[in-house]
Symmetry: C2
Subunit: 112 residues, 2 copies
DNA sequence: TAATGATATAACTATATGGTTATCGATCCG
DNA sequence: CGGATCGATAACCATATAGTTATATCATTA
């Protein structure tokens, strides 16, 4: 696969509004699938597959903590496509809404 | 359409290796369709539609000169998606190959 | 061990995408 | 005007994508 195909694949991973929102959210805080589901109007498997796509593009990494899998933004990789994270709208309000609804996971388990 | 959809549309325009090559080429020199066709293994209508996609995303502008339509890179717009043009491989060699084959248009008509 | 909860995967559907060939429109030139 | 060239559009086809529901996998906990 030549460089253009590699780059195109990366852009494909970013070429979806839901995945861009995921990136914007992970820029604020590591999240697990169950936190993201109520934010988007889509099913858990749909969120999971979006995350797989981001993972395959190297844009996120995962860490299992107990029964949850937390996803982190790979900012260095994101920079490869030089999407300035600052260019994304701030979604703090959405997270705050989740928190006010008690939907944020309070994970006390240490990273394995 | 919210900001995320707008951004996603822009990334979609960049999420194709042929279009990335077109961007890389336009970064070197304005081109018309007939110059690009022999560079890619695809038909003239296919190149034309790729260009439409880039045009719709605001990434290129067109200028008719006689029977040719020259396309220019909108670098400011490209910066919106902050793809550093420098991140793209240099395709000068391809253009030189075209030139050596006499396939570059020598347009003497002034911009209308 | 059994039940529960979080993710991932499978199978399916509808739409989007990227290619083709055929054809239309516009411009230039004899 | 008539022919030739460049580009755009139309119609079609194959594949990719993003969603769904159902189910499997893995970890926690009673």
């Amino acid at each position: 696969m030549d460089r253009f195909e590699e780059l195109a694949d990366g852009f494909k991973a970013l070429a979806d509004p839901t995945r861009l929102k995921i990136v914007a959210l992970l820029n604020i805080r590591d999240c697990c699938i169950c936190e993201l589901v109520p934010l988007f109007g889509i099913s858990q498997p749909a969120v999971s597959r979006h995350m797989s796509r981001l993972k395959q593009a190297g844009l996120v990494t995962e860490t299992r903590r107990g029964q949850w899998v937390f996803y982190s933004l790979n900012r260095a990789r994101l920079a490869d496509f030089t999407l300035g994270v600052g260019a994304l709208p701030d979604l703090s309000a959405d997270l705050q809404k989740l928190e006010s609804q008690g939907l944020l996971v309070q994970c006390t388990i240490k990273t394995s």
